[in-house]
Symmetry: C2
Subunit: 332 residues, 2 copies
């Protein structure tokens, strides 16, 4: 029998917020339906059925609960955040031409790119309908800003791909957009809806931001050193897709002439041969790029935990702190 | 020298609203920029440079002005409406795999589908940021509902394509979504921001809705009988793309067995040969499908004009009425 503390922090959060999470799920099911276009619930049911961790809505519920809010609009905001997330997944899979998501065929493969683009648009629009319901202008501004920052980060990532001169600053900008913006908005709106003091709202934002950055760096590191079984991805996908993620940026910065020629051929020109991934991994290790990336992820997780310091004691606070540790536990 | 009344109603509206339209253009230029992702202004400048008629923002400005509103937020709402429109154009071109828009290469051709999807998302998000600025919840609800209806209509169109059993009701649902929803939201929010009485707001909605439906029916009719020089499209594009638009739906409903076999082969199975378009046009004419479609468009234009009856006299009101006539003048 597992004691409470031996459970993963994510599961403990889910248990503590179970009633609210049930309400969020019911609202998501209700709002993803479409009277007129049956393709919409087909596609969204496929995604929802694939069972994500629902981390982002839990962040909103957790933040609101910690700040003493008892409803009802944290449910709408949590569902809003999940809708935005699901819409970006649908569009990401089109942009990346992905065939798998969470170990299942992607919607663009099962239906077509058209459906993924348009159902994604539908979910975006539904998320905006949902966020109007609490009637809070500050909440609407935070969430619409987050949506713009996400799209901006995705466009920046697109133009940075294959570009060897991508800096760590640009990488951070991309990560802030594509991942951290929604994490920080999720936690921030939880505080805002609860009418928490400015200092607390700021701390919630900072926690979400740092957690999101840490989360994405871990993801990018695992792309080079993870196990396909645990990540659902193959080692080296980013290398094959010529993405400039943090490990690669660090190795390129330290490359000698011969190594640079290798990166130009494989990443800039995209001429990859058998054995190139092994050579890339050897170069990443030679320059300590994987260890340096791990260190960065740990620092961001630490930053997330420190942001929580100003919050009063609460069981959810402890779980959020443990969650930051858990995010980096896979790479420690 | 042209007298005022010999000018097209669209140009007279543009002249009457020139100062406000200048402010809308300036706001669009300001908000479509992106500090971090230069690809965004490149793509949006291409679209804006292609010079649409900016009909939708004029509807918002016109409605607000007729209702006595003098600013400043009609500018934001007009820009919001144009951003939503531009975002849908970017995504439509990906969905339709179009190569031309307004006589110029499409963004998906000049850059790639990825950029069109993500820059479209950015514009959607920017539109939601913009619509929060007036701080009016009813306005936000109208515009976010419109965005959801647009996406729903586009998905419905996708699944109705190639489906010979598509009814006129389904066609109307698609048209209401993909075209009329933004027209009616554009006029409605103009009245709402001006605090116009409910009856007036309803009339503005009905005008926009009927104008939008009429506008789309004309577009679909011109696809079969227009001139490439005036429409910027080739005759029969919808036939080649196997779209069930109103003329085709009417002809299919009256088809005998041999004709039905022709439609099954060309539309359902997509096996098109030389001469098929000519044969399709002959069938459309044989069953009076083009004339019946023309009649429907004229009725919707009439409905749009009638909706304006409850509005007090105003020069803009006359221009909007003439605009409804002008929309159908190309097919009369």
């Amino acid at each position: 029998m597992t004691t409470e503390n031996s459970q993963k922090p994510h599961d403990r959060l889910a248990a503590a917020l179970a009633t609210d999470m049930e309400a969020v799920s019911a609202l998501i099911r209700e709002r993803m339906a479409s009277e007129h276009a049956p393709r919409i619930p087909e596609v969204t049911a496929h995604l929802v059925g694939a069972g994500g961790k629902r981390l982002r809505p839990m962040l909103t519920l957790g933040a609101a609960t910690m700040c003493g809010y008892s409803g009802p609009y944290h449910i709408h905001l949590a569902a809003t955040v999940e809708f935005i997330h699901t819409a970006t997944l649908l569009h990401d899979d089109v942009v990346d031409e992905s065939a798998q998501r969470r170990g299942r065929p992607t919607a663009n493969l099962l239906w077509d790119n058209q459906s993924s683009v348009l159902v994604g648009d539908y979910l975006f629009a539904r998320s905006f309908q949902l966020m109007t319901e609490p009637g809070s202008m500050p909440v609407m501004r935070i969430l619409s800003n987050a949506a713009a920052t996400i799209a901006e980060g995705e466009v920046l990532q697109l133009t940075a791909a294959q570009n060897l001169s991508t800096s760590e600053d640009t990488y951070l900008q991309v990560v802030r957009g594509k991942t951290a913006a929604l994490f920080s908005a999720a936690t921030e709106v939880g505080g805002v809806i609860a009418d928490a003091p400015e200092q607390i709202v700021k701390a919630l934002y900072e926690y979400g931001d740092a957690l999101g950055v840490s989360f994405q760096i871990v993801d990018d590191l695992l792309d080079y050193e993870g196990q396909a079984e645990s990540t659902g991805k193959n080692i080296g996908d980013d290398f094959r897709e010529r993405k400039l993620t943090l490990p690669l940026i660090k190795a390129v910065a330290l490359a000698d002439d011969a190594e640079r020629a290798f990166w130009v051929r494989t990443i800039e020109k995209g001429k990859q041969e058998d054995g190139d991934l092994d050579h890339a991994l050897a170069l990443l290790n030679k320059h300590g790029a994987l260890d340096a990336t791990r260190k960065d992820a740990l620092e961001w997780a630490e930053k997330a935990k420190n942001a929580l310091d100003v919050l009063p004691p609460h069981e959810i606070k402890d779980m959020l702190s443990d969650l930051a540790d858990y995010v980096v536990a896979r790479i420690s």
